[in-house]
């Protein structure tokens, strides 16, 4: 979080820090709010439905794999053939932004419209305690939701399908949960920024969901469009041309945080994914063809591969949060 240069206050010794009091109250509010229940249900359904339809497929895969080492993570990777639902990590990638925005879009502006902000700020707390506390509370609530969903899926796998995770799989799964929390906190910070900038909560929500639609649904379309404009390919183009177009669209797509998250998720959850991107030269492609079968990466190799993605996501989160923070500190108390 952004460093705050404030003097040590001797009077606060032995008391709870202001942000902690704010966070505790906000967290309690989140847990009893309707949106928490709704989002929990949505994510719960999203986790159970593909599992239910795919459990037969997983069971047959599990019996074929001799040491069944990837079977547990397959719970998060399978997508059922019967219904058009993406697998768990793709689904979380798309729904998590909604979760982040939903928990933060009205954080500051509702305090303004309800007339509680001047009262809150006239208590002996620093002004940034309000932003920090609200961010922490949102993060805690979302972490809780994610852990419950992951727990339900794992429990389903263990109890219904009898798949017990190996240590490596547990580590990978935890790494993915941390990555997902980072992914959600980016959107939480974005929602917080909107709540500071936009005075009406409804407008902030609309903007937040608009950006989410743009990124989640139309993102890939826009990427192909831009790449097509920059490097048009004739229908009978050479393979070099086709590959360079792929390289270009990959580069453009990585501007979108969703791409970063999905690439990193794929690597973390699937040890047999050994590159974050598709090959873009013929040499790479041939190499990839040779390696593709049977190659498995250890966790630290996978982690090394997604490290730049994690840093980029973290940087985006930090920028959003810092912007919200600075803006809020400079805003007048009165609307």
């Amino acid at each position: 979080m952004t460093a705050d240069a404030r003097p040590a206050s001797p009077g606060l010794a032995g008391r709870d820090a202001g942000w902690l009091v704010v966070a505790r109250k906000e967290f309690a509010d989140h847990l009893s709010s309707a949106r928490f229940v709704v989002l929990m249900l949505v994510l719960g359904v999203a986790a159970i439905v593909p599992l239910y339809f795919a459990s037969d497929a997983i069971r047959s895969v599990a019996s074929q794999v001799v040491d069944s080492r990837d079977a547990f993570l397959a719970l998060f990777l399978v997508s059922p053939k019967e219904v058009p639902i993406p697998n768990v990590f793709n689904f979380v990638g798309i729904v998590a932004p909604l979760l982040g925005v939903a928990f933060a879009f009205d954080a500051i502006n509702s305090e303004r419209t309800d007339g509680t902000l001047p009262r809150l700020l006239s208590q002996p707390i620093y002004r940034d305690d309000v932003v920090n506390g609200k961010f922490a509370a949102g993060l805690a609530a979302i972490t809780l939701v994610l852990l419950v969903v992951v727990g339900v899926i794992s429990g389903f796998g263990i109890v219904r399908l009898g798949i017990v995770p190996s240590a490596d799989e547990v580590v990978r799964l935890l790494a993915w949960v941390v990555l997902t929390i980072l992914w959600v906190s980016l959107w939480l910070a974005f929602g917080l920024l909107l709540s500071v900038l936009v005075r009406r909560a409804a407008t902030a929500a609309l903007i937040g969901f608009g950006v989410w639609l743009l990124v989640a649904i139309f993102g890939q379309l826009i990427v192909s469009l831009v790449a097509g404009i920059l490097a048009p390919v004739a229908s009978a183009g050479s393979i070099e041309q086709a590959l360079s177009l792929t390289a270009l669209s990959t580069a453009i797509a990585r501007i979108l945080p969703l791409t970063l998250y999905q690439e990193a998720s794929a690597v973390l959850l699937n040890p047999s994914v050994t590159t974050v991107s598709t090959p873009t030269t013929i040499g790479q492609w041939q190499q990839w063809q040779q390696q593709a079968q049977g190659q498995v990466m250890s966790f630290d190799q996978s982690a090394l591969l997604v490290w730049p993605h994690v840093i980029a996501l973290f940087a985006m989160t930090a920028i959003c949060f810092a912007a919200a923070y600075v803006w809020f500190m400079r805003q007048e108390v009165r609307a």
């Binding site: 704010v22 309800d114 001047p118 009262r119 002996p124």
Partner: protein
């Protein structure tokens, strides 16, 4: 004290605030406090002093700069110039200590609608670092003070505006403040509620020695409770003093008396009250108010009011005037305010009454 001082430059306080005993003990004082929003000057070189244990009324229309001044006193907005001291501290630099000891009721105060009154107060108590044992007793105490015990456990969504206002006062009292700053405390409270609130404020001053600064645009409502008032217009303090002092300073120079005379009963005919009153020196005019059944006499200059009252009593004895009551009518603050603001727009002066 009662003398009307002409415009007094604030040189005295600016030179050495600590050397001045009054300024040193004043819980709230500002020197040339200024707040600009772009080209607009919201508060213009304000010199204000609120003494320990008094109720000071900051009076002015909406947009006169009252709330901006209050926000600067709490360190919630940064002054563009000048300085403020609250309980001896600079609120811009040490806001936490100021906010720990100053209770504040914001203009149109709000609460979290899905929480009960008690839960809202509990949150404030936690933010103030009260321990759990202290909290419940203190909450009960302040709820009793504002008369909200019966509704404390319903969600504040269901509260009326007046109840929210009372809860806001309870909220400000929760930290047992040395200084209480109330922005429009009586707005949207019913007349009986206003009396109760003003009684509560008097009690606080009497029992705890709390210093109270309140702002209002409903002048007549707060007139009775304020020890001193400051008249605020267009970001400037155009007059400070007791209501009587301000009346003398800004009034039309006349004092008003209300005289009630028993009705004539057949043979016992007294002297004509109108003639008797007119005969007294300095009585400028006498009129009969049929609705209230009283005679009204205006005295000019106002300083002769006491002597005229004496003369009326003497007339009652000497001429057999059947006097049943005699009282001086307090000048209305609304009237004073109107004249003061009109005077300011004519000449643009800044002045201070009393000391």
């Amino acid at each position: 004290m009662t003398d009307v001082a002409p415009a007094r430059p604030s040189r005295r306080r600016r030179s050495s605030p600590v050397a001045d005993p009054v300024a040193a003990s004043a819980p709230i004082r500002t020197r040339a406090l200024t707040k600009r929003y772009g080209d607009i000057v919201a508060v213009d070189a304000l010199d204000l002093e609120v003494r320990a244990g008094e109720i000071f009324g900051l009076l002015g229309q909406n947009g006169a700069g009252k709330t901006t001044t209050i926000l600067m006193l709490l360190g919630l907005t940064e002054p563009s110039g000048g300085a403020a001291r609250v309980i001896g501290l600079d609120p811009a630099r040490r806001p936490l200590e100021v906010k720990r000891r100053v209770g504040y009721l914001p203009d149109s105060v709000g609460f979290y609608g899905d929480l009960t009154g008690r839960e809202n107060l509990r949150y404030t108590a936690r933010l103030n670092g009260l321990t759990n044992e202290e909290t419940e007793g203190q909450i009960e105490h302040v709820l009793e003070q504002v008369g909200l015990v019966g509704r404390a456990d319903t969600a504040t969504d269901t509260y009326s505006r007046g109840m929210l206002q009372r809860l806001g006062i309870a909220d400000a009292l929760l930290k047992s403040p040395d200084v209480l700053i109330l922005d429009e405390p009586t707005t949207s409270i019913d007349p009986i509620g206003v009396v109760e609130i003003l009684d509560l404020l008097r009690t606080l001053v009497r029992e705890r020695g709390t210093t109270i600064l309140l702002s209002s645009h409903l002048l007549s409502q707060v007139q009775s409770v304020c020890d001193r008032v400051g008249i605020f217009a267009a970001g400037r303090l155009i007059g400070v003093g007791t209501v009587a002092e301000l009346a003398e300073r800004f009034g039309d120079g006349a004092a008003h008396l209300e005289v009630t005379v028993a009705a004539d009963e057949g043979d016992a005919v007294g002297p004509d009250p109108e003639a008797a009153l007119r005969a007294i020196e300095h009585v400028e005019s006498v009129s009969w108010d049929p609705a209230a059944a009283v005679w009204r006499a205006s005295v000019r200059p106002a300083s002769e009011s006491g002597r005229v009252r004496e003369a009326i009593l003497r007339a009652a004895v000497e001429q057999g005037l059947r006097l049943t009551s005699l009282r001086a009518i307090a000048p209305s603050l609304d009237e004073i305010y109107r004249i003061a603001v009109a005077g300011m727009s004519r000449s643009g002066f800044t002045t201070e009454v009393g000391s």
